[in-house]
């Protein structure tokens, strides 16, 4: 008998999940009506397409230098019919470098975000799921991580791991772990108090089943929104780290943040070199931000009408 009741409570919980699925469907419907979301999606789509098909789009090699094009120090050929965005200080085609740069930047964004998200989910799940001293310990740890300004933290980790794009991605990821952890934990605590969870609990459904099967999946939507936003900040943070001298080992491999940082010295002589990657970063970050913000609004029950 009590088993039956328990099953029905679970079904009720599953309804809540369905509502979750419905939530996403409904959110999507609201999303396609928002101009901000559409613009964001277009930016992101262009970014991803360029990144994926870089070898097909780029007219030249992004790495082969041609010093014969450079007449002397400070000479940087501007845009021409053969080189649409001009050449850089080592005679490479800037357009091709920008195209290939999208690739690296996308990788940086996605990998750092994934790293932070997975780390944050593990910590948040442990804290929000187990509670008690585990929760207290993890949250103290998270507090400690948050007590160091983010960029400083990232520099510290990147410096320790050495000069490579991987260490940059890990650094940005680690800095984002506490953000995700807090978010998930808070959401799980709220969901644990939700009616369906309380009902299931009162009927003696196993805690792990409630938490892993229902509370956790129902708590993920803000985490996913945050993930979209983190894609944007990760690209910006990577640029910041590059500016401070922490980026991939090989400066020949184009990455927007690195290009932006490395071309600062040409600001007065060839501002276009600074401008291209700067604009590219702003637009791609804007794309992810618009998408994330719209998603957040679309998922917000307050805006459901």
């Amino acid at each position: 008998m009590s088993l039956q009741v328990a099953e029905s409570a679970i079904q009720q919980a599953e309804h809540a999940d369905e509502a979750g699925g419905g939530l996403w469907r409904e959110a999507f419907r609201r999303l396609v009506r928002k101009p901000a979301a559409i613009i964001g999606a277009i930016f992101v789509a262009i970014f991803v397409i360029v990144a994926v098909f870089a070898p097909l789009i780029a007219p030249y090699s992004p790495t082969a230098t041609d010093l014969s094009q450079i007449k002397g120090p400070g000479h940087i050929p501007g845009p021409s019919s053969t080189h649409w965005l001009g050449l850089d200080d080592l005679g490479r085609d800037v357009f091709s470098r920008m195209i290939y740069g999208a690739r690296q930047s996308l990788v940086v964004g996605v990998v750092s975000m994934a790293f932070g998200m997975v780390g944050g989910i593990i910590l948040g799940l442990l804290a929000g799921g187990l509670g008690g001293w585990v929760d207290a310990t993890i949250m103290r740890f998270v507090d400690m991580m948050l007590a160091i300004p983010g960029l400083l933290f990232a520099i510290g980790i990147a410096a320790m791991l050495g000069q490579s794009l991987v260490s940059v991605m890990i650094a940005i990821g680690v800095v984002n772990i506490p953000v995700f952890a807090r978010l998930l934990r808070g959401q799980m605590l709220a969901q644990r108090e939700a009616d369906y969870a309380l009902a299931a609990k009162s009927l003696g459904v196993k805690r792990s089943r409630i938490i892993l099967g229902h509370v956790f999946p129902n708590s993920l939507s803000p985490v996913i929104v945050q993930g979209t936003l983190t894609l944007a900040t990760a690209i910006i943070e990577a640029a910041g780290l590059a500016f401070l001298g922490l980026s991939g080992a090989d400066p020949a491999i184009p990455e927007w943040g690195r290009m932006l940082a490395d071309t600062q010295k040409f600001l007065t002589s060839a501002p276009q070199l600074v401008f291209y990657p700067g604009i590219a970063i702003v637009l791609s970050a804007l794309g992810f931000t618009l998408l994330g913000e719209s998603l957040r609004e679309a998922l917000d029950p307050k805006n459901r009408r």
């Binding site: 790495t63 082969a64 230098t65 010093l67 014969s68 450079i70 007449k71 002397g72 120090p73 400070g74 000479h75 200080d89 080592l90 005679g91 050495g162 000069q163 001298g245 080992a249 090989d250 400066p251 020949a252 490395d262 010295k265 040409f266 600001l267 007065t268 002589s269």
Partner: protein, 557 residues
């Protein structure tokens, strides 16, 4: 009820205040912008503002080892001997003449009537006191980061406190008369006189040292100069005397009216630290400063075109791509030659180095005796490089190429650019290049010197103009950096160093240069000219290959 309105009202007030402050700032903008120039006009003839790239570390020359510190101490202190202005020849300074029979006992005749800034006399006793001070360094003063140049050139101290210190080259000093002093060494050293020209061997007032103290503590990880002489009361015999040093702000010197030589033309020298290269140039352009060193190669022509003075400084340096022969396939001479032919040195120097820089073909600049015009040269020839690779029979063509970040050296203003150009060259002939990079100091230097690198970007700035300071320091003994043992090269360099006859010495170095070129322990690629940027009205400035530029001869038109 009024009480409760507090925060909002305060906020409004703040907003208003902020707007006012901003308005004031903007209004002040025009005013002060004009004021700058006007202010610059009055009394600027007697002020010379120089932008350093970094704060000096200390004002006691015997504790100093970096260029920006020396740039300041050189104006305050003088040594027994110096180098001729704009050249490398040793010339008299506080000593008018010197003599030695065995390179072991050195007798100096001192200039008379020289006074320190504190009014005490400079004489033979001062010289001996100075040497005894250095020789008797204890504790943290014996730290290689403190008495760097003494240890590099003279070895150890009277009582060595570390087993890593060797015996001292200095033995004793004797004041024969007021103006006669004899310094005795433990071993013969032909280069002793060149050593004395180093700014670290400047004569300081021992009265001041005793009065203010020259203590050093190793605290945390770095030396802390606690003695006031070393930071707040430096006293020398130079054309300028110290006035004040507001750290993080400015350091001021003033003409020493009791100077024994020609008095300084400009009354006040102000040193400012501006860490950012472009910012130094912009400061010169806006008239904030009168001069700075290390003009960016790309700026040389534009600054000249804008009417600023850009003075060339002769190159006493070499930039090179080093090989570590412990790493395969660099042990193969054909591969090393192939790399030498693969690198487009001319292209890089033309595109990225300032006009006047030379493509290097050996490991020391032409201005130094021992340079050999007849060494083997490896011209840029990718076909030949491919050919040599084929001949070598090496199939695994992967190379680990190292370059440093966070550094700009005269021979390497933009290491990343050099690296990318060379990497592209190497890939063009079939090498597979992987990249390694670290911040210059400490990581990069440490790892390269431990022999971890494969091929790497490095270079050298002369301490003094001597072949030994170049190829001697590179190749005289086994160096993990290069990872080879070539007895012939080691031997000839040792022989050259010990050779007392200058002419024979030069011949030996010429021979050594040829052997080194044939052995290809790396590819030297540039002797870089460096440039000093000066305001339009600065006159009399004379660049010096060892950066020994005296501000006392500078004036403003």
């Amino acid at each position: 009820m009024h009480r409760r309105r507090g925060p909002v009202r305060a906020l409004t007030a703040l907003a208003l205040g902020g707007a006012l402050a901003l308005a004031a700032a903007c209004g002040g903008g025009g005013q002060s912008g004009g004021g700058n120039k006007a202010g610059g006009g009055s009394g600027t003839k007697d002020v010379f503002v120089w932008a350093l790239s970094d704060q000096p570390k200390v004002l006691d020359s015997s504790y100093a080892s970096d260029g920006e510190t020396f740039r300041v101490t050189r104006q305050i202190y003088e040594g027994l001997v110096g180098t001729e202005a704009g050249g490398t020849k040793i010339v008299p300074a506080l000593a008018t003449q010197w003599d030695t029979k065995d390179s072991k006992t050195w007798e100096f005749t001192l200039k008379k009537g020289v006074k320190f800034h504190d009014g005490t006399d400079f004489n033979a006793k001062s010289v001996c006191d100075n040497f005894e001070r250095w020789y008797n360094f204890t504790g943290a003063q014996q730290n290689p980061a403190v008495s760097t140049y003494w240890q590099t050139t003279m070895g150890g101290f009277k009582k060595n406190e570390s087993e890593d210190l060797g015996p001292s080259l200095y033995k004793s000093c004797e004041a024969k008369a007021d103006d006669k002093v004899v310094i005795t060494l433990t071993n013969p050293s032909a280069s002793f006189i060149s050593v004395l020209a180093l700014p670290s061997f400047a004569m300081v007032s021992m009265d001041a040292v005793k009065k203010y103290g020259d203590t050093v503590e190793m605290k945390g990880d770095a030396p802390n100069y606690t003695g006031k002489f070393s930071t707040e009361n430096p006293v020398g015999t130079g054309a300028y005397k110290f006035v004040s040093w507001q750290r993080g702000d400015k350091l001021t010197l003033e003409r020493f009216d009791g100077y024994h030589g020609e008095k300084a033309k400009i009354k006040t020298i102000v040193f400012r630290a501006i860490g950012d290269g472009p910012a130094r140039r912009q400061a010169l352009e806006s008239g904030e400063i009168d001069g700075f060193d290390q003009v960016e190669p790309a700026d040389v022509e534009t600054m000249k075109a804008a009417g600023f003075q850009v003075q060339e400084r002769a190159a006493l340096n070499v930039g090179y791509v080093g090989f570590n022969q412990k790493k395969k396939p660099l042990d193969n001479p054909k591969i090393r030659q192939a790399i030498a032919h693969a690198l487009n040195r001319d292209g890089l120097v033309k595109a990225k180095y300032p006009p006047g820089s030379e493509v290097a073909h050996q490991w020391m600049p032409p201005a130094i005796e021992g340079y050999n015009d007849a060494v083997t040269k490896y011209d840029y020839n990718p076909e030949k490089a491919k050919q040599l690779i084929k001949e070598s029979g090496v199939t695994d063509l992967s190379l680990e190429f190292w370059y440093p970040t966070k550094v700009s050296r005269p021979y390497m203003p933009d290491p990343a650019a050099n690296f990318q150009a060379f990497k592209s060259d190497l890939e063009a002939v079939g090498f597979k290049v992987t990249t390694k990079t670290y911040p210059w100091n400490p990581d990069y230097l440490e790892k390269v010197d431990q022999g971890q690198a494969g091929i790497f970007l490095l270079g050298w700035n002369a301490d003094f103009a001597d072949a030994d300071n170049f190829i001697g320091t590179f190749f005289q003994q086994f160096n993990p950096r290069y990872g080879f043992r070539n007895k012939e090269i080691f031997d000839i360099l040792a022989k050259a160093e010990a050779e007392p006859d200058p002419a024979k010495r030069v011949e030996l170095y010429k021979e050594a240069n040829k052997m080194i070129s044939d052995f290809v322990p790396g590819v030297p690629y540039v002797h870089n000219k460096s440039y000093v940027g000066l305001a339009k009205d600065v006159q009399g400035f004379k660049t010096d290959p060892l950066s020994n530029e005296q501000f006392s001869i500078v004036s403003r038109g």
